[in-house]
């Protein structure tokens, strides 16, 4: 089920990979939270924690990184029914941002933990036969 307003609201992240970055961490909450200067948030967050005077600035996340772990989804959710089997992985980008994305343009038996990847803009799903097409990021091997 697609919610049109939320799809529209998320386009800065899905189309342009916008996050934010803590450029000066001034957390007064010593040792209790894990925020630190340089941390990249994707999607962007309003705050690292409630006791921070951190300076968060908008940024675009790095589009290259590596694959940390992956699976091959054989039994898919309804809206991905035509795509299975497909590879899904967790990637860490070069600036530390983490994301879950489909891994495409690679044979399923060539997937490997640690392989270099880069983000590409692709169609993600379709809301039935008559609904909107939904786009976003997938990753491909970066060699």
């Amino acid at each position: 089920m697609a919610f049109i307003p939320s799809y529209w609201r998320e386009t800065p992240q899905r189309y342009r990979y916008e996050g934010n970055k803590c450029i000066k961490c001034e957390c007064k909450h010593d040792s209790k939270c894990d925020c630190e200067t340089g941390q990249v948030f994707f999607p962007p967050r309003r705050t690292c924690c409630p006791w921070c005077d951190c300076t968060l600035e908008p940024c675009t996340i790095a589009t290259t990184g590596k694959l940390l772990t992956y699976t091959i989804i054989v039994v898919p959710p309804t809206q991905f029914g035509d795509e299975a089997p497909y590879a899904l992985g967790i990637c860490e980008m070069d600036d530390g941002a983490r994301l879950t994305a489909q891994i495409v343009d690679v044979p399923l038996d060539k997937l490997e933990i640690g392989m270099p990847v880069r983000i590409e803009f692709r169609k993600i799903q379709q809301d039935g036969h008559a609904g909107i097409l939904m786009y976003g990021y997938k990753v491909v091997p970066n060699s």
Partner: protein, 385 residues
């Protein structure tokens, strides 16, 4: 804070119960718990349910269930923390009794999952993950745990056989549980050759879709012997914690930090450590989850739970019996009811009434109930007094 005891438990045989409604299942379990305790009233009640709205199109369970149990105007609260909803309902009832606000509190859980088809159930369950940043991309729950399993295998050399042993062991226990949905033995070959769901996890690595309910009656420990003929079982420890909702936001996919923190708090309250826990019911929604959980609880060192399981250490006659009920895998996983179902097993074992699956001489057990891919966890320690 007052000490709290469990004096009554109720459940039914879990399964695909086409002819039974959510309210019918829940009322049966609640009546069983009330009759088991022998109490003549309740002061308050809590219901754990993950998604009455998506599974049966019914919210406002507080009114519905108090109404159909016939206890209005008793205050009722529905508690939601995905698959940890039941355990969180117990936590809420514990707090209400411990604080002195109420004396006799019914805590319960229910989920009616088979009114929707497989796609509908997958959709409802997936709402426990990050809808915009995991589910949107094509993630499923088996997929998320499969990524944990892949990471675990890569780092610790866990074998497919060791992973399958978790399911084999839990079915060996479930076969002796009259309430289990799938009380049949499962061979290693059956598990390893079952349909692939999300590589490397196969169908028999996954807990099933289940209809079911469970309930328990809490009261102050000091009143337990006056209120009920049952031997009081003390809730000696309780702890709950959260972690980042998206798996990708956790630094170590195999370390279930919410479970580590919840267990630390429960051990501290009970004044015991992992070595003093005789047996445990843990959240084996997938085989890999049981391995990560029993490490997070401090029962086994990181990376060793697979070998320990293969060596029989978590079997009923092993040094740390895990999921004597059959676990979520064999007993079933009606998500909101699971946390209270675990309490049913702990109390049954601690009373010494578990029949053929009874573990001899157990005095203290732990229940660990987890939401999503580990984003919330609640632990309880129960003991004989």
């Amino acid at each position: 804070m007052r000490d709290v005891a469990v004096i009554g438990i109720g459940i039914q045989k879990w399964g695909e119960l086409w002819e039974r409604s959510l309210r019918d299942l829940w009322v049966e379990a609640a009546l069983n718990a009330i009759n088991d305790a022998g109490v003549d009233h309740i002061d308050s009640m809590y219901v754990g349910c993950m998604s009455g709205g998506l599974f049966v199109g019914q919210e406002h369970l507080s009114s519905l269930l108090a109404d159909y149990l016939g206890v209005c105007p008793v205050p009722a609260t529905r508690v939601e923390s995905a698959c940890a909803s039941g355990g969180m309902a117990l936590r809420s009832g514990f707090i209400e009794v411990a604080s002195g606000l109420s004396d006799i509190v019914l805590v319960s859980g229910v989920e009616k999952m088979t009114d929707v088809d497989g796609g509908g159930a997958t959709y409802a369950l997936a709402t426990a993950a990050d809808a915009e940043y995991e589910v949107y991309q094509g993630a499923t729950f088996p997929g998320l745990y499969a990524m944990v399993a892949r990471d675990y295998m890569h780092r610790y050399g866990l074998t497919r056989e060791q992973l399958a042993q978790v399911a084999v062991k839990n079915h060996d226990n479930g076969v002796l549980n009259p309430h289990a949905q799938f009380p049949m033995k499962m061979s290693l070959e059956t598990v390893m050759n079952s349909t692939m769901i999300a590589d490397p996890l196969r169908l028999m690595d996954c807990s099933p879709i289940t209809d079911g309910a469970a309930a328990a009656i809490l009261c102050p420990l000091e009143m337990a012997r006056d209120l009920s003929k049952n031997p009081p079982i003390k809730v000696s420890g309780m702890g709950a914690a959260t972690d980042r909702i998206a798996l990708h936001d956790r630094p170590d996919f195999c370390e279930f930090r919410a479970t580590v923190k919840a267990a630390e708090a429960a051990y501290k309250m009970a004044g015991v450590g992992p070595d003093e826990i005789d047996f445990a019911e843990v959240h084996d929604c997938f085989t890999i989850a049981e391995l990560c959980v029993i490490e997070a609880l401090g029962f086994f060192a990181r990376g060793t739970a697979g070998q320990a399981t293969a060596a029989g250490e978590t079997a009923r006659d092993g040094k740390k019996p895990i999921n004597t009920s059959g676990g979520l895998k064999s007993k079933g996983h009606p998500v909101g009811a699971t946390g209270i179902g675990q309490i049913h097993e702990l109390v049954t074992q601690l009373r010494g009434t578990a029949g053929e699956r009874q573990v001899a001489g157990v005095k203290r057990g732990l229940a660990q109930n987890m939401g999503g891919s580990g984003g919330s966890t609640v632990c309880h320690i129960l003991e004989v007094v």
